[in-house]
């Protein structure tokens, strides 16, 4: 028998019923709920007279519509408070654990689930949010689902899924100094495209991944959806187990030992075969910045904005032209030196403690450029408190950044936090789509260190400063 990939093992372990044609009913070990969509799913469940089958396997927090302002207690308007109230009411009624707005464990769902040990290796995790792929960094099979599927999971603790193909991306070499997992992911998307991973469960492997912190692996898996793949995976190893041990919801005692045995058997077997393999030189990657309206529209900081005329595919060419028009940029010019109005350090992609540490190292003792509004929105209350214990908040504040309350905030603009029309924002988030940060907002995706350095410069920088770790 040939070996199996991590993905195969995860899939096979969760099959409740094989429906043929690659379709299977799979058991859901963890359903992560947030405040946008859960309220309507709870409502549908009730309307259909159904019961939430396994409340102990569901975990909720409020992140999308919560205000990020200091002293906040909910949303910024009635409509936001209604979403939060619906989540709260559903959780109370069915006995689902909720990290509520003012709780000490509140935060962005994909930051909270790993840091509390809720998502674990070997688990099948779903969430009504496409960046659920983040949890794959722990060796969990995790993907985002829609509202109808949420109701299905609530009522049956299963999800109907189509078996994807398997892709392995092997990152050879190590990241250069100042180059972050975010740069690696953007460079990868730039090379194989925003649909390059479509139809695949993507496993990240190779030296650069092994050397990467859990936070970095989460950034990588998080951005798998921007590569077009629903599922990103990293084989669990000692770094994973060390990260999880002692976290509030991680297994304890005899369970921990049994779980470890099971988890050690998960990584891809040496003789396993993938449907598609990609080799990528991590050592050659430089700090990236996006110039357009797709994460695939990425270049190195010192490079020139590409010319759509050089693109062979007509629909791609049209998209590039539209992107440049929207972004107010000209082809062939260096991206460096482009004036910016906003900087956002946050989101489920880059708001963990190590992300904030790298950004803080750049800004410490310096000042945000006049006219630039710069925000840090930590990924969770736990991240926020840990950062404050290290004095990061002071470094940011003294530099002129706002230090705000955890949530999705400016990544998605669902809570009223928005970039004004025509304004340009360097953002550590995951999507530079048209209107993503607000109607007419122009988003440049980058790593925390690059975003921090741009805030100081007041423009897109051409190279990272020496202070970047």
């Amino acid at each position: 028998m040939t070996g199996r990939t991590l993905f195969d093992k995860l899939w096979d372990d969760h099959v409740v019923a094989d429906l043929g044609d690659g379709v299977a009913l799979l058991h859901v070990d963890r359903h992560l709920l947030h405040d946008l969509g859960s309220s309507s799913a709870f409502h549908d469940l009730e309307r259909r007279g159904l019961v939430l089958r396994n409340p102990e396997l569901h975990f909720a927090t409020a992140d999308h519509v919560v205000s990020s302002a200091t002293g906040r207690t909910g949303g910024v308007a009635d409509w936001a408070d209604r979403h939060i109230a619906g989540l709260r009411e559903g959780c109370r009624r069915w006995g689902v654990r909720l990290a509520d707005v003012t709780d000490a464990t509140q935060g962005i769902v994909h930051v909270v689930a790993p840091e509390l040990g809720i998502s674990q290796p070997g688990m099948l995790v779903v969430c009504g949010d496409s960046h659920a792929s983040t949890n794959g960094a722990l060796g969990a099979l995790a993907w985002g689902i829609g509202t109808s599927e949420l109701v299905h999971v609530m009522a049956t603790q299963t999800v109907l899924a189509r078996r994807p193909q398997r892709m392995r991306i092997t990152f050879d070499g190590r990241l250069s100094r100042g180059v972050e997992p975010k740069d690696l992911a953007l460079a990868l998307i730039g090379r194989i495209g925003a649909a390059g991973g479509r139809g695949y469960a993507v496993e990240y492997a190779g030296e650069a991944v092994r050397a990467m912190s859990m936070d970095g692996r989460m950034t990588l898996c998080n951005l798998t959806i921007e590569l077009g793949g629903r599922i990103g995976l990293v084989g669990p190893d000692d770094a994973t187990f060390g990260y999880l041990e002692g976290r509030p919801f991680a297994p304890r005692g005899a369970h921990w030992e049994r779980a470890l045995d099971a988890w050690r058997a998960l990584p891809t077997d040496a003789d396993a075969v993938f449907d598609h393999e990609v080799a990528f030189d991590a050592g050659a990657v430089t700090p990236q910045i996006t110039w357009g309206t797709s994460p695939a529209h990425t270049i190195g900081l010192g490079e020139r904005i590409p010319d759509p005329a050089a693109c062979a595919d007509p629909s791609e060419r049209q998209a590039m032209t539209a992107a440049l028009d929207y972004m107010g940029l000209a082809p062939g010019r260096p991206v460096a030196g482009t004036r910016i109005d906003r900087v956002f350090i946050g989101s489920c992609t880059n708001s963990r403690l190590s992300d904030l540490e790298r950004a803080a190292a750049v800004v410490r003792g310096r000042r945000v450029a006049p006219g630039v509004v710069a925000w840090v929105v930590p990924g969770s209350q736990l991240v926020k408190r840990a950062a404050e214990a290290r004095g990061l908040d002071r470094a940011f504040r003294e530099a002129g950044f706002e230090w705000r309350e955890p949530g999705c905030s400016l990544c998605v603009g669902a809570n009223g936090d928005m970039v004004a029309p025509g304004e340009r924002c360097v953002s550590t988030s995951n999507r530079n789509f048209v209107g993503r940060q607000g109607p007419g907002a122009r988003t440049h995706l980058a790593s925390p260190a690059v975003a921090a350095a741009c805030a100081l410069a007041g423009e897109i920088i051409g190279a990272l400063p020496e202070t970047a770790a």
Partner: protein, 208 residues
């Protein structure tokens, strides 16, 4: 509980040959957070469809005749990429569109279509590009018939294009069947799985 059946869809097909039309472009988060499902159609494709002052952009395909009444959308590659928001499908369905033809789709969007009685059809990129330019060039011949029973699209200019749909999804659309109803009937299998799994992976079900 069931979804709206889809057997044959006849109507105007509109070309939107833009690659990577994402879910934020299809429906803004602020709209889906604030508005009921029934109102989302008005804001579908908002940044493409309306100008900054809120007026319609006459250049956008769905603001032009005969495409304003389209029931079929002929779209670019990776259509619906991005977020898991099912409201993107609700917004498009809210325009009266029941079929989307594209070289490829964002995966979650693709799955969400079937949950809402919308048929996403995958055809080769050159075919989709050819259809889209013909629709653009000859709006008078923009009428199409999509037959899910036969898995065929017939164009006004006499072309017949075969397409493939996974059998379970096809059957469910044809019958208007609901995925959840089918799974609820499998409760004994779910209970048996959990009983076995609790022995095998006890830590999944409780801390201890």
């Amino acid at each position: 509980m069931s979804i709206e059946k889809l057997v044959v869809v006849e109507g105007v097909a509109a070309p939107l040959a833009l690659a990577n039309v994402d879910t934020d472009m299809i429906i803004r988060i602020e709209r889906l957070a604030k508005l009921p499902r029934a109102d989302l159609g008005r804001y579908a494709f908002e940044p493409l469809r309306y100008r900054a002052d809120g007026s319609e952009d006459p250049a956008f395909v769905l603001n032009r005749q005969p495409f304003r009444d389209a029931r079929i959308l002929v779209a670019g590659a990776n259509f619906g990429c991005g977020s898991s928001r099912e409201m993107a499908v609700w917004a498009i369905a809210g325009l009266g569109i029941r079929v989307i033809v594209a070289p490829s789709f964002g995966e979650i969007f693709f799955a969400n279509c079937f949950q809402n009685g919308v048929l996403p059809v995958v055809l080769p990129a050159p075919t989709v590009a050819r259809i889209a330019s013909r629709l653009e060039a000859e709006p008078a011949a923009a009428h199409m018939t999509v037959d899910l029973e036969r898995c065929e699209i017939c164009t006004d200019w006499g072309e017949t294009l075969a397409f493939a749909v996974e059998s379970l999804r096809r059957r469910m659309l044809l019958e208007g069947a609901d995925e959840l109803e089918l799974t609820l009937a499998r409760e004994p299998e779910i209970a048996a799985f959990q009983a076995r799994d609790r022995e095998r992976r006890p830590w999944v079900y409780g801390n201890g």
